[in-house]
Amino acid sequence: MELAYGHPKSLKPVQSKYCPGCGHGVIHRLIAEVIDELALQERSVITNPVGCSIWADLYFDFDSVQPAHGRTPAASTGVKRMLPDHLVICYQGDGDLAAIGTAEIIHAANRGEKFTTIFVNNAIYGMTGGQMAPTTLVGQKATTAPEGRDPAEAGMGYPIRVCELLATLGGTKYLARGAVNNAANVRKTKQYIKKAFEAQMRGEGFTMVEVLSPCPTNWQMQPVEAEEWLEKNMIPFYPLGEIKNELGGAETKEAAK
């Protein structure tokens, strides 16, 4: 009996505090798998954000730095500049990255900081209990959008496509959007993460993988239902794939879909 799929080394064998069916767990595992594959466990630092993934430092089996809400890319900038030969993972939720930390991500990306942002887009604020995120879809309900996100009368704005926004910046070299709604997309997401980490270690510039991820709790759905909702609602609005790939070497480009 040969082990085909098992627990990655860079992830601790502990029970997480994430809710049942939460995408953070899958994304954690993918990161850990890639770090194992690249043999970087002792040369990795994660900056884990304020948000549900504040717990990330309990699960990843390597060093971590926990900065203020939204300032994760600023802290990652400090970490990476001081540790240029380390893999630095800037893990961010959509509140952290696309709301309070908008300036930080845009400027870190524009400076071409050589860390990788893993952007968990669950279209809601998880930790604080279901407020509207910048990525919340139009009409989607949230505690701060009780009748659903309304860009018109209430002036709540439109969901922001972060990859597309960052693609306009000179410093961004690799921007991809994956999802963890099914096995195929999880696998593809892992490939994006791997490419991004490899590019980071080659020092190419700013890399980011956005991951569409369910938050069953705050979407008020069962986990399976949440996967379906993500497929039906998020993926059409947030197209999957490599949104920008300016990595050196044509072989790294994704085959046209």
Binding site: S64, P67, A74, E104
Partner: protein, 355 residues
């Protein structure tokens, strides 16, 4: 004149002293009256292939320092009053995560946008924690370009020793003024203390993971962490008090003043002496910890105090807390960027003494 005495602006001397102290990373955002410091760091850090980043904001700058400091690197930021306000959350985080760093405030007049002239109106913010939660950090107030350089240099050591931010609180006059300065020797980066708690370089020792963080959702645990930090504060209060006394023994009235206003008081004292009047100066150099005990001693000796500040009265609260009603404590302040003159300070002292 020592051969290596240089004429420098306070802002530049702070920058050069930081570099010599082994500062590996500077992150800042432009603001008057500290722009020469940022410009100096741009030029000289980049020339030395160290890290200089003009951050997109002060908020970002302090969090870049947070990241760099978390790896154990000596790092710093500087700003002036409104920018320091924006750093308050970050400073609270740095204190909560016990991170060493140096923060320079070349203070200007407020509140709000206010003006760009020198002020000491940020005393409360610096010494009482303008950020949220229970915390303190060292605050050092230079009175000259030389002292600005010396204290900055030392600040990096203190930050490392006590694992906390150290703030250099200089007003705009200290930053903008030129004086002669002899700079401290350049530190070899390799000679700097290793930090076992820092993130990174795990591969060197295969040590257990390091986590730099300030969160703890279990009240009892968080309380224990806070109490441990406050025990450290108590040590600091006994070992890191700095102050200067001039003529306090002979004087009936002792000025209490720091930074620029202490210089003004010195001038007033000279003029007083010429007029046959003995005045003294008690100059706190460490604003936190504040030398309460020594002031209490002086109060017990029957001195009276006049706190002279470029504010509407902030440090005077510490003087009152020290003196506890045992001696008269008066206050003379100017604000809005006005620096008091020796003449008016002397006049106030005379008025109080009825001489």
């Amino acid at each position: 004149m020592p051969d290596d005495k240089r004429l420098m602006k306070g802002n530049e001397a702070i920058g050069e002293a930081a570099i010599r102290a082994g500062c590996r990373a500077y992150f800042g955002y432009p603001i008057t009256p500290q722009n020469e410091l940022t410009a100096y760091m741009a030029k000289h850090m980049l020339a030395r292939k160290r890290t200089f980043i003009q951050a997109e904001s002060e908020v970002s700058a302090i969090n870049m320092v947070y990241g760099a400091a978390a790896t154990g690197a000596r790092s710093m930021t500087s700003s002036s009053s409104p920018g320091i306000s924006l750093k308050q959350e970050g400073i609270s985080y740095a204190c909560g995560a016990d991170l060493p760093m140096v923060i320079v405030n070349v203070a200007r007049s407020g509140p709000g946008l206010g003006g760009i002239s020198p002020s000491q109106g940020d005393y409360f913010q610096s010494t009482r924690g303008g950020g949220h939660g229970d915390y303190y950090h060292l605050v050092l107030a230079p009175k000259s370009v030389q002292e600005a350089a010396d204290l900055t240099y030392e600040a990096f050591d203190l930050a490392d020793r006590w694992r906390m931010p150290v703030m250099i609180l200089a007003d705009g006059l200290i930053g903008q003024m030129m004086e002669g300065v002899v700079l401290p020797p350049e530190r070899d980066l390799a000679s700097l203390p290793r930090k076992g708690w820092a993130a990174g370089h795990q591969a060197d020792t295969h040590r257990p993971n390091n986590h730099v963080t300030s969160i703890n959702l279990v009240p009892a645990e968080l309380e224990a962490l806070n109490r441990k930090r406050f025990a450290r504060y108590d040590e600091i209060k006994s070992s890191e008090l700095r102050f200067e006394e001039v003529n306090v023994e002979k004087a009936d009235l002792v000025f209490v003043a720091y930074g620029t206003s202490a210089r003004v008081c010195l001038g007033a004292m000279e003029a007083a002496k010429r007029a046959g009047l003995e005045l003294g100066l008690f100059r706190p150099i460490s604003l936190w910890p504040f030398p309460h005990a020594r002031l209490a001693e002086l109060a017990a000796k029957g001195k009276r105090f006049l706190s002279v500040e470029m504010s509407m009265g902030q440090m005077v609260e510490d003087v009152r807390l020290a003196v506890e009603g045992k001696a008269p404590v008066d206050f003379y302040g100017r604000c809005g960027g006005v620096v008091p003159t020796e003449e008016e300070v002397l006049a106030e002292a005379r008025r109080l003494l009825g001489k």
